[in-house]
Amino acid sequence: MEYYLQLIVNGLVVGGIYSLVALGFVIIYKATKVVNFAQGELVMVGAYMCFALTVQFNIPFIWAFFITLGFSVLLGLAIERMVLRPLIGEEHISVIMVTVGMSSVLKSLVQLFWGTQIKVYPQVLPSEPIVIAGLPVAPVYIAAFVLSAVLFAIFSVFFKYSRTGIAMRATAFDQQAAQSMGIGIKNIFAMSWCIACVVSSVGGVILGNINGINSHIGHLGLKVFPAVILGGLDSLLGAALGGLIIGVLENVCDGAARQLLGLGGFREVAAFIILVIILMIKPYGLFGTKEIERV
């Protein structure tokens, strides 16, 4: 029993990282209805940019962090202008494939500039583990958890109460109506991509602190799908909770599979089986907006 409790705590902790990545995903979907298969690669690019600034140019970490955020804004603008804008109005499959293409391009660019070697990240957080419920937890994960909570709070407030946030939600709901109310949707799209890139960079820095960076940490982007589907594709709260829940469920299923069924390595696939089950029962997730179709 204590084992399962520890699994849950560890799941919450690792789920914090999923939440961070899921947040960026949901921000893009919320504003533009684009499913971004390149979310993992955006995290990777953020991590590499911070690495380059800290290690290669020897800038103190705090400044490097903020400059990375600045670069992320530029990256978001570039992506939106060059890749996504020509595809406004195209069908789903085209948009999905363009993000897939983008993920390949980003991966290759990172390999071109920084090579394929594993890079070690500068450690900015203390490495002494903090003990929670009998389980030692590295401070990096606590930081991820705290950051997701903070970012989630900031963006919830932003989307609910600020003009721009409401404009973004309006654009997602009905582009034509938003345009006729005078909202510049091109700016909205650009802003949502910038915000998502910034959030991903934060995630990337955290991820880099955990185990160094290489050009393949982008696979985390795939892990995000169960989290966002569980939470609802356009719900921020859903993304935050979905990440945590998926982290916990993954661990619990893995532990149960090993003890009861003798299956190894189940955690990789557990999240996706949960995904299929959720899709069958509640396709719009826990907090997503239900699309009601009128014939």
């Binding site: 789903h92 085209s94 363009v98 293409g101 390949s104 799908f225 089986i273 995904l275 899709l279």
Partner: protein
């Protein structure tokens, strides 16, 4: 049905023919003749590339039937090809004759495909894509943990196909076998597209609500789409397994699914000839890149290495460029080129 100026049909049969004019028929005959002569004049390596193209065409056309014609986005195609490869491989290893093994592999894959098509009843668009992504990952896990059925982590070693005591163990012989299968699958898909089923698929893609009102049973036809598409994917997988001689779980990963999706998008969604163009393009892309790298490598030795490492980036870039500038794919380009030639000097 896009009729040509000057062709007058006096029966429905004539109108529904796949090759409608005498000129088209002649061209097809010449093409077949050229393809038959090809392995005798080309070297072994080029023949092997053509073999890869044939297998990819079968896979691409099956995915196009599901995604391009019926509108169901599927990210699990690589896994279905894997199911076909393992099923046909196991049949072969148990002594089943080769043609029967391929067919059995296809049928098993069709059933698996239909099982994973069940979510399509409730899911559309993005959600279906993500469900098929889950299918891909779950099937990969099954391949790795299939124990005796899939050889688990060691994979399966297969013998080259044998029919009537005749062994297809050289590139040239496999070429003719694969050519036959490819021609058969292309004909099959073309026929489906001009039948009642094809029209139902198109109606589901275009606007499923109207299709439902008109009386098309959505769930049944979607299942059929998944089934037929998976059958052909299974056939492609079985052929791939016997051609390569070795199958393992790593070969049927998400990268394979994405490359097939790229094939149909670059080629053109919803058209048979688009699938062919797309398959040729994607299979030849690494070869062209190698040639470019070798050519450049003569002048700048170091850059050659980088160019090849950028293979994935070039693939992504090509995909993005096609989606931005030519969203309807190579089939559209082909159609426009033909129209230009036929209508010159008129614009339309």
């Amino acid at each position: 049905m896009q009729g040509k100026c000057g062709l007058f049909f006096t029966s429905y049969c004539g109108e529904a023919r796949i090759f409608q004019s005498g000129f088209q028929k002649l061209m097809v005959v010449l093409l077949i003749a050229a393809l038959c002569v090809a392995p005798l004049v080309l070297d072994v390596f080029t023949t092997s590339v053509m073999n890869l193209i044939f297998i990819s065409v079968i896979g691409a056309v099956s995915l196009n039937l599901l995604t391009g014609v019926c509108g169901q986005i599927s990210l699990g195609h690589g896994a279905f090809i894997g199911v076909g490869a393992y099923a046909a491989g196991q049949c072969s290893l148990h002594g089943v004759p080769f043609p029967l093994a391929i067919l059995t592999g296809g049928l098993i894959t069709a059933m698996v495909g239909m099982v994973f098509g069940v979510p399509s009843l409730r899911l559309k668009g993005i959600y279906l894509a993500i469900a098929t992504l889950a299918a891909q990952l779950v099937l990969e896990y099954v391949f790795l943990h299939g124990g005796v059925l899939t050889g688990g982590s060691n994979g399966l070693l297969l013998d080259p196909p044998q029919m009537f005591g005749f062994s297809f163990d050289t590139e040239g012989r496999m070429y003719y076998l694969l050519f036959a299968f490819t021609a058969a699958s292309l004909l099959m898909v073309s026929n489906i597209m001009r039948s009642k089923y094809g029209r139902a698929f198109v109606s589901i893609r275009d606007f499923y609500l109207s299709a439902e009102i008109v009386g098309v049973n959505l769930f049944w036809y979607k299942l059929i789409a998944f089934g037929v598409s998976s059958f052909l994917a299974g056939v492609a997988g079985g052929l791939w397994g016997h051609y390569t001689g070795y199958i393992s779980a790593e070969q049927f990963n998400i990268g394979l699914s994405i490359s097939y999706l790229a094939m149909i998008i670059i080629g053109g969604l919803g058209s048979v000839i688009g699938s062919v163009f797309g398959a040729i393009f994607i299979v030849l892309l690494p070869e062209v890149l190698n040639i470019v790298a070798n050519g450049v490598g003569a002048y700048f030795p170091d850059i050659a290495q980088h160019i090849v490492a950028l293979r994935e980036g070039v693939f992504g870039l090509v995909l993005i460029l096609f989606l931005i500038f030519e969203p309807e794919g190579l089939a559209n380009r082909w159609r426009l080129a033909k129209a230009y030639w036929k209508l010159y000097p008129f614009a339309h």
